[in-house]
C-alpha cells in the first residue's frame, strides 16, 4: 500500500499527537526554573486551570518541573494577572517539548494532572500567635481549602477530602509544650477548647482525644488519603500513635503523672515514619522527643550556613518522590521549628528520605505509604523565616515568590491531582 507524502505527514502528526499527552495546536508552558517570576502563584494557576476542567501536564525535572497547558485566552489572562511567567508554544514546539521530556535517556517524565484534590487543613478555629506555613502557601497561591479540626475529624468529615495537612499541632495533648505561656489568654483558650472538645467526645483527657484523632487520620491514610505534615505535626503524630497504650503526658498538662513504664510500653509498630524514639517527659522542655534533633547549636545557628539538599529521583520510575521534590534548586535554605529536623536513626526503614542536611545525619523531608495512601513529613516551621517565634508577624510571601522551601509544600498540593498509574516499581 502506498501513501501520498501529504498523508504520511498527517499520519505522523496524528501519531505524534497521540503520543503527546497534551500537545494541542497552541500550548503554553509555565516554566518553573529560575526564569519563573512567581513560582508559588504558578501552582495556584495550575490548580485554577484544573478546577476549570482543563488538564495540565506536569513536566517532571523539565525546567524545574514546568507545567504545560492549553494556551486558552482566559488561562493566559489569569497567568498575567497573577504575575506568573509563561511562554507560548506552537503545536510543533509543544510536541518537541513533550518528545524531549519523554526521551528514555533523560530523567524527565510527564504526569497528567486531571482533577483538583479536595484539600483540608487541620487547624483550630482559634487564632494562635504563630503562623502556619501551609495556610500561608495555600492562601498566597490562591488554592482553595477548608479548615477542619477535632470535631470534624471525629465526625468522619475527612472522607470528604483527598488531601489533609497538619502543621504546628501537638497530637500528644501537651498544647505544644508552651507551658511557659500558660497564663496568656491564647493558651488558656486553647486548653479550654481542647478540654471541652475532649469531654464532648467522651474523653477525660485531651491526650485521649488527640489519640483518637491520629488514629482516625491514620485510617484515612490507610483508605487512600494523602497526608502532609510539617513542624510538630510530624513527630507528635507518631509519638501519639506510639503511646496509644500508655501515658506520656506530664501532670502539668493533664493533671496526672506519666506512666513510670511509659518508655517500655511505646508501640513503634503503630507509627508511620519513626521508631525507637524517646519522648521528653519534662513539661518545661520545648521538645517532644529525640526524633527532633533541634536547632543547630547557637554558634552555628546561621541562616547562611544552614541548608539541606533535595534528592533526585527517577522521574519515570519513582514519579511520586520526583513530584514531591520538584524544584528550581537542589539546595534549600534551612529553617528552624519546634521540630527542626528528624534524627536519621529514628526513621523507619522503607521510608523514602527526600531531603537531608548534608553531613549531619538529619532528615528534612520524607515520604512513605500506609495502606492505600501516603504521608509526607517536612520538618521546620516556616521556610522563609529562619526562626519563627511566637507573636512574630506572618511571612509576606510577596517577598518570597520564588521560595524553594514553600515550593515543596505546594508540590504536595498538586501531587494528589496526578492521574493514578500502575506503579512501575
Amino acid at each position: 500500500m502506498m501513501f501520498k507524502p501529504g498523508k504520511i505527514v498527517a499520519i505522523c502528526t496524528l501519531l505524534l499527537s497521540m503520543q503527546s499527552p497534551n500537545a494541542s495546536a497552541q500550548d503554553l508552558i509555565v516554566p518553573m526554573d529560575e526564569s519563573q517570576s512567581n513560582h508559588l502563584k504558578a501552582y495556584g494557576v495550575t490548580f485554577w486551570v484544573l478546577q476549570g476542567g482543563t488538564e495540565v501536564d506536569w513536566l517532571l525535572n523539565y525546567r524545574g518541573g514546568s507545567f504545560l497547558m492549553p494556551a486558552l485566552p482566559e488561562i493566559q489572562q489569569e497567568l498575567r494577572v497573577r504575575g506568573v511567567s509563561f511562554e507560548m508554544l506552537g503545536g510543533a514546539d509543544a510536541a518537541r517539548v513533550i518528545a524531549d521530556v519523554e526521551r528514555d535517556d533523560s530523567n524527565t517524565a510527564i504526569i497528567r494532572l486531571e482533577k483538583t484534590p479536595r484539600i483540608a487543613v487541620y487547624a483550630p478555629k482559634q487564632t494562635l500567635p504563630w503562623d502556619d506555613a501551609v495556610l500561608l502557601a495555600l492562601t498566597y497561591a490562591e488554592v482553595p481549602y477548608d479548615v477542619v479540626y477535632d470535631d470534624d475529624v471525629m465526625e468522619g468529615k475527612l472522607a470528604d477530602y483527598d488531601w489533609l495537612h497538619l502543621h504546628h499541632e501537638d497530637f500528644t495533648g501537651q498544647y505544644g509544650k508552651f507551658y511557659s505561656y500558660r497564663s496568656l489568654p491564647w493558651y488558656i483558650e486553647q486548653q479550654r477548647n481542647a478540654e471541652e472538645t475532649a469531654r464532648r467526645h467522651g474523653f477525660r483527657k485531651v491526650s485521649h482525644l488527640k489519640l483518637a484523632v491520629v488514629e482516625t487520620i491514620k485510617s484515612y491514610v490507610g483508605n487512600g488519603g494523602f497526608l502532609f505534615a510539617m513542624c510538630s505535626g510530624t513527630d507528635t503524630f507518631d509519638i501519639a500513635l506510639a503511646a496509644h497504650q500508655t501515658d506520656i503526658v506530664p501532670a502539668e498538662y493533664d493533671g496526672d503523672p506519666i506512666n513510670t513504664d511509659a518508655i517500655a510500653r511505646l508501640d513503634y509498630e503503630n507509627t508511620f515514619a519513626f521508631r525507637d524514639f524517646r519522648p521528653s517527659f519534662n513539661a518545661g522542655e520545648y521538645e517532644h522527643s529525640d526524633i527532633d534533633v533541634g536547632p543547630p547549636p547557637a554558634q552555628l545557628r546561621n541562616p547562611a550556613l544552614d541548608f539541606f539538599t533535595l534528592f533526585e529521583f527517577s522521574a519515570k520510575w519513582d514519579p511520586v518522590p520526583a513530584m514531591l521534590t520538584q524544584n528550581h534548586v537542589a539546595t534549600v535554605k534551612g529553617f528552624i521549628g519546634q521540630t527542626t529536623a528528624f534524627a536519621k536513626d529514628k526513621v523507619k526503614p522503607g521510608v523514602v528520605v527526600m531531603a537531608e542536611a548534608p553531613g549531619r545525619d538529619q532528615v528534612r523531608y520524607l515520604h512513605g505509604s500506609f495502606g492505600q495512601g501516603t504521608y509526607t513529613f517536612y520538618s521546620g516551621h516556616d521556610p522563609e523565616d529562619y526562626q519563627h517565634l511566637v507573636d512574630d508577624p506572618p511571612t509576606d510571601l510577596n517577598l518570597h515568590k520564588k521560595s524553594p522551601g514553600y515550593r515543596l509544600i505546594l508540590n504536595n498540593v498538586l501531587f494528589p491531582a496526578a492521574r493514578k498509574k500502575k506503579q512501575k516499581t
Binding site: 517570576s37 489572562q77 498575567r80 494577572v81 497573577r82 504575575g83 497564663s183 496568656l184 489568654p185 491564647w186 488558656i188 483558650e189 479550654r192 478540654e195 477525660r204 501515658d247 493533671g255 496526672d256 503523672p257 506512666n259 513510670t260 510577596n398
Partner: protein, 635 residues
Amino acid sequence: MKLTTGKHNIKASFWPNIGDTVRLALLILLSITLATTTLAQQSDADMTARFQLADSYLRSGQYDRAIPLLQDLYRADPASQVFFVKLKQGFENTKRYEEAIALVDSRIELEGPTAVLLAEKGRFYFLDDQEDRALLTWNRAVDTDALRTGTYLVVYNSMVQSRLYVEAIALLESGREAMGNETLFRKELGRLYGLTSQPELAMSEYLGLIEADPRQLGVVKSRVAQFSSRLTQVQKSIDVVEDAVRDNPLNRQFRELLAWFYLEADMYAEALDVNRAIDRMEKEEGRVLFGFASRALSADEYDVALSAYEEILERYPDAVVTPEALRGKGETFETWANKSAGLGGRRSESDAIQKYRKASEAYIDFLARYPGNGNVPYVMLKLAGIEADVFDEPDSARVRLTRIIERYPNHPASDNASFQIGRMHLLAGELNEAFLSFSRLEQNLRIGELAEDARFELARIHFYRGDFESSQSLVEALKENTSTDIANNAIELKLLLIENKGPDSLNTPLTKFASARLLERQRKYLEALSVSNDILAEYANHQIADDTRYLRAGALMELGRKEEAVQAYEEIPLMHPQSFLVDRSLFSAAEIYEIHFESIEKAIEMYNRIVIEHPGSLLVSEARTRIRLLRGDDV
C-alpha cells in the same frame, strides 16, 4: 568514807545523804535511761538517713526503691506528716491511686476525717477514674465544716487541680448559700466563670469584687484579659458592665472598666461617652477626655477625637488642657483631611478642603486665644502650610512664616519656617530669593533631612533657571545618599538632565520644559499647558517630547479637563512607545477611567496593557491588584 578527788566531791555533793541501796538503784535506773536515749538517738539517725535516701530516690524517679523505704518509715512512725506526704507523692507519681487512698484513710483514722484529707482522697478517686466517688468524698469533706470558708477553698483547690471547673462552681455557690453570704469567693468564681466561657457571670463576680475594694480594678483587668481574647466574649462582658454602670452611676471603677472594654472592642464612640461621664463625675476638668481624645486620634478615630476635643473646649474653656485640646482639634482635622485627600476622587477632594478649612480655623483660634503658648510656632507653621499648599494663599503664609523666624529664632520650627519661605519664594517666581533662603538654611544646618531637602531645592532652582550643569552636580551628590527620601527625586532629575540636552548649545527644549515644570509647581496649569503645547509644536521630535506630553496630561487633569487628560495619557504609548513614561501614562489613564469615569472595563483594559506590554514595570504589581479588585476577586 572520805572522798578526796574533785570528781568524787562532785558526786558526794550530788548524792547527799542517801542510803547505798537507794543510791545503787538510782544509778542502775540512770544507766538504763541513758542507754535507751542512745538507742533512740541511733534509731532517729537511722530513720533520717533512710528518709533522705528515699527522698533522693523519689526525686530521681526511682519510685520502686523509694516507696518500700517510705512505707517502712511510715509504718514505724505513722504520725509523721513528712513520711505521709512523701509516700502519698510516691503513690501518686506511680499512679498507685488505690494505695494512695488507703494511705489517706489510715491518716483519717489517726487524725479524723478533716476537710484536707477528704479533699485529697477525693482527688485520688478522680485520678483513679472514679469520678462519682470523688464527688461523694468531696461532699463529705465539705460536710466536715460547712460553715467555714476554708473548707470550701480546700475542696475547690482539689477540684481545680482536677480541672473540674463546673463542679467547683457548684461547690462555691453552695458554700455561699450555706453561709448566707453572696459576696464570698468572688475572685475564685470570677476565674472559674472565665475558664468556662461564661463572661457575663465572671464579670458579675469581678464587679462585686471591685465594688467591695476599688483597688482590685487592675487585678480584674488582668484577669479579664485572660478570657476576653474573643470579641464575642468582650461583648458579653460589656453588657454586664453596662448594666452595672446603669445601676451604680457613681462608681468610677465600673465606668473605667467599661471604657477599657469599649476600647478593647474598638468601640470608640461608646468609650467617649464613658470618659465624658468620668471626667464630669470626678471633676477632672477635661483631663480624662483629653487623654482619650489623643488615643482616639492615634487610632484614626477622627470623629470621636474631635467630639472629645470639642467637648473640652465647650465645657472647660479655662481648663489647663484647653489650649492643647484646641490644637488637637486642628491636628485632627488636618490629619483627617490628609487622609481624605489621599483617597482620590472628586468627593473626597471637596471633603478634604472642608476639613482643611476647619483645621485652619482651629489653628487661627488657637493663635488668637493663646498667643503665649509654647506651641505657637508649631501651630503657625502648620497653618502656613495649609495656607500655602491647600488654599493657595502664599502671601499670608509668608507673613506667618516670617513671623516665626523673627519671633522664635531658636525654636526648632524656625528652620522649617525658613524652608517654607524658600518654597513660597519659589511659588511666587522669586527664584533669587528662594535660592538665598535655601542656601542659608543648607549652610546653617549642613546635615539632616531638612538640609538635604534644601540642597535638592537648590538643584531644582538651577534647573528652572536653565543652569543644568550646576543642577546636575548637586543632584550627583544627593543621589549618593540613598538613605534619604529625596534620592529618588534626585535620580529622576539627573536622568532628565542627561537625556534631554540639545539640540542647540542653549538646550532650548529642556530650558522651556524646565519653565513648564516651574509653572506646574506654581499651580499655573494653564500657562504650563501653553508652554507644553509650544514645546510640542516646535520640538515634536526631540526626546523631551514624552516628558512634555506627560506634564501636559497632568496639567489638563489639574484643570479638570479629564477627557483631554486621559486622551493625552493614552497618546504617550502611541507616540513614544520606548519612553519610560509609557507605563505611568497607562496607569494614570487607568486611574482616571477607574476613579473619575467609573469605567471598569476601560480601566481593566489599561491596567492589562501594563501587565502585558510592560511586564518589568514597577507598576505591574499594583496594576494586577487593581484588575483583580475591579473584577471582584477576593484579594
